[in-house]
Symmetry: C2
Subunit: 180 residues, 2 copies
């Protein structure tokens, strides 16, 4: 999340989720980022997935495979408590389907301490690079190894909390990530 | 890389590398980001590693394990060709030790087409979250599964370029990433 305080740009990592043609993010109501961007200033939300390192036969043609989206706009704060709760449910259930209803319900204090923002996906730019290296024609004759080292965000072994009650199974919404 | 064009913040994904107490990045000399940030404007370079999803017993205490650094400053352009080359070598060899000397050398046109910027690491802020969920005391009595789903950027199976000359082995600087 890119935004401005005075004349200094800030880029703050933040979780986000999407509902239809809007993008949402949230955080502590005390957060400087959230307090700043609720003032109606312009922001840029950029999401990047790195998919691989591309090794070419010259330094110049080395590259990165990636997918990136930049969304521009102005943040709108959700003031209505029911709407805020619905958005937070979508955030949790978007990652872990069905988890929300298994949780201890949100209380008023928590809801007040949480700011939820959203922005329409009106002005959006995407950039993607895929595939192998593109070298200069004459460089293909050189005995230089070229190729792609794919990279992906992958789940590791699940770490159950040491204070889980006895007999609690790992829920399906966590197991679905594929690692025991 | 966060920066400003007129009054609109932009966040552009970019590769970076570090040399001592400076951070470097580069790109096409035609890039709008690079042309903009070489004008001496303030920038923010943020690097984030996501390490895991933290599932708590309430929605409020769900979190993300991560390491993030924000570096603030003003970009300086490397004008000297020898310094620019040395920086680019450090970038490639930083990821793939020894690769630079195996490559077809950079030519004058490529060097001109590449802009290399750097910034001193004078004003830097780091934020880290590690470990399991921190729930409210009374919530530990609830039969709700909590824990961490670790996430990591991992290499996949190497994809040699289809036009590699016969008999070229995958170099050690690629094999060291651990996947065949």
């Amino acid at each position: 999340m890119g935004y401005l305080i005075d004349d200094q740009p800030y880029v703050t990592p933040t979780s986000y989720w999407r509902e239809g043609e809007r993008i949402f993010w949230h955080g502590s109501s005390a957060s400087r980022m959230l307090r700043t961007v609720t003032k109606g200033i312009k922001v840029c939300l950029t999401v990047t997935h790195v998919d691989g390192l591309v090794l070419a036969r010259s330094g110049f043609h080395h590259s990165i495979n990636y997918r990136a989206v930049m969304a521009f706009g102005t943040a709108e704060k959700i003031e209505d408590d029911a709407q805020k709760l619905a958005a937070l449910k979508n955030f949790v259930d978007g990652m872990f389907p069905g988890r929300w209803q298994t949780l201890r319900p949100v209380n008023k204090q928590e809801l007040k301490a949480t700011t939820v923002l959203s922005m329409p996906l009106d002005e959006v730019s995407a950039k993607i690079r895929v595939g192998g290296p593109i070298d200069d024609d004459e460089d293909y004759a050189l005995p230089i190894w070229a190729g792609v080292l794919p990279l992906a965000m992958t789940p590791g072994a699940i770490v159950p909390d040491a204070r889980n009650l006895a007999g609690l199974d790992v829920p399906e919404h966590v197991r679905k990530f594929g690692v025991k």
